[in-house]
Assembly symmetry: C2
Homo-oligomer: 169 residues x 2
């Protein structure tokens, strides 16, 4: 079936290599705005964001993950948080964060950018909060690394629908 | 900024009232496929799906939530599960489920359908598993109710970006 939205969903890939071109403030704000328009339980909008473009901060964050080379090479990082005092249900709030991040990834591609969702850095989430000067009211969900793609060679694959669809009743 | 994808993200609304028109199998499979193309940590693809269109099953599920009228009025329900034996990290797997569901909601609108993400039914997730004949290896994440929209009057609002963006460094 043809639709620009379906095409975007199927063509999106994790982009880990970027060129040096800078991302405009307008595009960064558009990506965050796309995240904000995800649904959340009771419309509680528990998400909060930190945009990082300063090299020294990127370098400090790079030290907190195995994927430091991606963090260093990205023009911008968006750290996605949940504000604990806005949460109402851990599972549902984590799901909402995922919906928010997915919107951000789709928005990035719509704006000719590449993005990758970094989760491994969560093992050092307390150190990340310390680097970013945030209290423990903020729970790190992911870091989205962004830049103009160096290439579009990324491949990915998925299980067949028939393996994942348990029943149709 | 103009893009069909951004427009879809901003225009999507929770649709709770449907007309009686049936949804084709092709569209239902397309929606699940869109969900499957969400990213997951380590590409573990922990999501599983049950499509429900049978009236007697819808009626049983309607009894498990305050939103039974939505469940009854929907042409199709897609119950989204995580397979526990495929999970690797609860928070990240719940996020992936959220990304998957967001893709499904966007796909539904791209196919001229309306959808709403139902979470309140999770309080009776064991009963839902029993109705659907699933073992406790499957953990219910949400039920997505689908149909052709009766109207497009839904409004929604979000906090301002300036309230949600903690820092830009």
């Amino acid at each position: 079936m043809n639709s620009p939205v379906l095409e975007a969903i199927y063509k999106r890939r994790s982009i880990r290599e970027f060129n040096v071109r800078g991302i405009s403030l307008e595009k960064l704000h558009e990506i965050v705005k796309a995240g904000i328009w995800a649904p959340s339980g009771l419309n509680n909008q528990p998400w909060r964001f930190v945009i990082i473009q300063d090299s020294s901060f990127k370098e400090k964050l790079a030290g907190q993950t195995h994927y430091g080379h991606i963090v260093r090479g990205a023009n911008a990082l968006i750290a996605v948080y949940l504000a604990k005092d806005e949460m109402y249900d851990a599972v549902k709030d984590h799901q909402s964060a995922g919906a928010c991040i997915q919107n951000m990834l789709l928005a990035a591609e719509a704006l000719d950018l590449g993005a990758v969702w970094l989760g491994q850095i969560l093992k050092n989430k307390d150190a990340v909060n310390s680097i970013l000067g945030l209290s423990d009211n903020f729970d790190l969900m992911a870091v989205v690394a962004l830049g103009y793609p160096l290439h579009h060679n990324q491949k990915s694959k998925r299980k067949k629908l028939s393996e994942l669809l348990l029943r149709h009743i």
